[in-house]
């Protein structure tokens, strides 16, 4: 890697760490379970690595490793997003029967 690119990558790392911290601490405990499955789904982005490994045909070994990796990541992506949506769909602010107190 070009040294300039490496340095910038370190900055990306640093800023992403700070940003992750800032964003996640704002998630209310109400949504902590969906948060877990959402980050899970997003971490399936490692697909961008495994897809290339699976398709590059450098050797059969790497193709198989890549295939397993693609499968695993896809499970996370699809499963994670589906489950997150399933959960979030359930959160409602108002009941069908109105509840007397609405503060929080």
């Amino acid at each position: 890697m070009h040294p300039e690119a490496l340095i910038s990558t370190l900055y990306v790392f640093l800023l992403a760490a700070f940003l992750g911290y800032q964003v996640i601490t704002r998630v209310p405990s109400l949504l902590h379970t969906p948060l877990m499955s959402a980050t899970n789904a997003i971490s399936g982005i490692s697909l961008v690595g495994s897809l290339v490994t699976a398709g590059a045909h450098h050797s059969i070994v790497s193709a198989i490793l890549g295939f397993v990796a693609v499968t695993c990541s896809t499970i996370n992506v699809v499963g994670g997003f589906v489950i997150t949506d399933r959960m979030l769909k359930m959160f409602k602010r108002k009941a069908t029967a109105p509840s007397p107190e609405q503060k929080k």
């Binding site: 790392f13 992403a16 760490a17 940003l19 992750g20 911290y21 964003v23 996640i24 601490t25 998630v27 209310p28 405990s29 109400l30 949504l31 902590h32 379970t33 948060l35 877990m36 499955s37 959402a38 980050t39 899970n40 997003i42 971490s43 399936g44 982005i45 490692s46 961008v48 690595g49 495994s50 897809l51 290339v52 699976a54 398709g55 790497s62 193709a63 397993v68 990796a69 499968t71 695993c72 990541s73 896809t74 499970i75 992506v77 699809v78 499963g79 997003f81 589906v82 489950i83 959960m87 979030l88 359930m90 959160f91 409602k92 602010r93 069908t96 029967a97 509840s99 107190e101 929080k104």
Partner: protein, 457 residues
């Protein structure tokens, strides 16, 4: 041109992931946020598929198809109560993927990677592998495939530390001799073994913290992959993932008032007998019809759900009771402790499943001042989170943990099956207080009966 498009898709995906997680700061915007993140993922995948290094698509399509099928099945059918296990399993998948990409990269390019990349790659493989097996053990413990109790033996910590030292030594040696495949595969194997040994001595009840920690490892492994293949979106997503795991583990430890080292090395839950203190007085059993009448004529009732509600799947019955009471003009509130249940946000998601609006859920700080003016507090399978010892007895092992102060309510009814202890294995003095009655039985059954009794009250 083509790389331009690929890079653009990654950039867009990064933006959308960040926006997506920001959406989670409020339940109103959460779903839209997730749709953005989904779209970002699609972009990134499509972009990657245009990569000119990809020459054949069979393996890719097979992987995507099988993965989607399994993922969809898991996503649709895993019950809400099994979330902790599912999360553990998915960390295993994620970490395995990171680890395998690393292995294949090493297999293909090995010695030609340069010191810095070898460093990142070793880090990725190390973290990825130990997270894989560690998460699998956590999954097995939670699913009941392995005994939940801590598995300890003499000299365990010393042994584990030595193993870790050897693994790290391999890693360092690899930096010096990047071409030495033996070192790499030895490190890989040791990391897999270490993951198992790391989690075995931790009790099932402490798994949520472990899972969150493993989550942050998995995130770091992804970020390291990003370094290796020089891909920024991976770094960003990895750090977001890692940050979430890290913060959730901190939240849990804080809410339990235990340092993280105690969770990891304390083999908590293996000493349940010793903690039982003599309390002298007796527990009063409550009569179901009495409780129903009490509830029916209360001004305000507060429900305190805990782990027992989750195991009994009693959330729907609880909601029905709330409906019945509200129909009679009783104000009903739910008090949610941050570590009630076995997972951050556990109670919230179960109650949401049962259609309880989140405006009725109250956090610790908001509900505690209300207990003195509450007529009846119903404790549904919660124990530790309502243990007044945490507040009153500085010698208790949970001393200092913030609790829901139900003992200050005018009267308390506890729904549990018998003399079972909570997660901490402590005796709960609440149960012996004069304003507290015990309603024995499975939470779901008790609640269903209560609903009928309220209707006829």
């Amino acid at each position: 041109m083509r790389t331009g498009f690929i890079e653009l898709s990654y950039f867009l995906a990064s933006v959308l992931f960040i926006l997506g997680l920001r959406g989670l700061t409020h339940p109103e915007t959460a779903r839209r946020g997730m749709h953005l993140a989904e779209f970002g993922m699609l972009m990134a995948i499509l972009g990657t598929l245009m990569n000119s290094e990809i020459v054949s698509y069979e393996w890719i399509i097979a992987g995507l198809l099988i993965g989607s099928t399994i993922g969809l099945a898991m996503g649709l059918w895993v019950p809400m109560t099994a979330m902790p296990q599912r999360t553990a399993l998915s960390h295993a998948f994620g970490a395995l993927a990171a680890s395998l990409v690393g292995v294949s990269e090493y297999y293909l390019r090995g010695a030609n990677l340069g010191e810095l990349k070898i460093g990142a790659l070793g880090f990725e493989v190390l973290l990825g592998s130990l997270t894989t097996t560690g998460s699998l053990v956590a999954f097995s413990k939670l699913q009941g495939l392995l005994p939940g109790a801590p598995l300890t033996y003499k000299g365990q910590n010393v042994f584990n530390l030595s193993l870790l030292a050897v693994t790290v030594a391999c890693f360092i040696a690899l930096l010096a001799f990047p071409g030495a495949g033996v070192l790499f595969y030895l490190m890989l194997t040791l990391a897999f073994v270490f993951g198992v040994l790391l989690v075995l001595p931790i009790g099932a009840a402490d798994m949520p913290v472990v899972i969150a920690l493993l989550n942050s490892y998995a995130g770091l492994a992804s970020a390291a992959t990003g370094f290796v293949i020089a891909n920024n979106v991976l770094i960003i997503a990895g750090m977001l993932d890692g940050g979430s795991g890290f913060i959730l583990s901190i939240v849990m430890c804080k809410a339990m008032n235990r340092p993280i080292t105690n969770v990891l090395f304390g083999a908590f839950g293996s000493v349940s007998e010793a903690a039982a203190t003599a309390t002298g007085s007796i527990m009063r059993e409550a009569n179901l019809d009495d409780v129903a009448v009490q509830l029916a004529y209360a001004r305000q009732a507060v429900f305190v759900p805990g782990y027992g509600m989750a195991t009994a799947q009693a959330q729907h019955a609880l909601r029905e009771l709330a409906d019945a009471l509200e129909a009679r003009g009783v104000t009903v509130k739910y008090a949610i402790h941050p570590v009630a249940g076995r997972m951050p946000g556990h109670m919230n998601v179960l109650l949401a499943e049962a259609n309880v609006p989140y405006s009725q859920l109250y956090e610790l700080d908001h509900i505690n001042p209300e207990f003195p003016s509450t007529d009846v507090a119903i404790v549904v399978g919660a124990n530790d989170v309502v243990n007044p010892d945490a507040r009153d007895n500085p010698k208790s092992i949970i001393a200092g943990m913030p609790i829901l102060e139900v003992d200050r309510a005018k009267s308390v009814v506890v729904l549990k099956r018998g003399q079972g202890k909570g997660f901490s294995g402590l005796v709960n003095p609440l149960f012996f207080k004069s304003n507290c009655g015990m309603l024995y039985g499975d939470a779901k059954e008790s609640l269903t009966q209560l609903v009928q009794a309220v209707h006829s009250a």
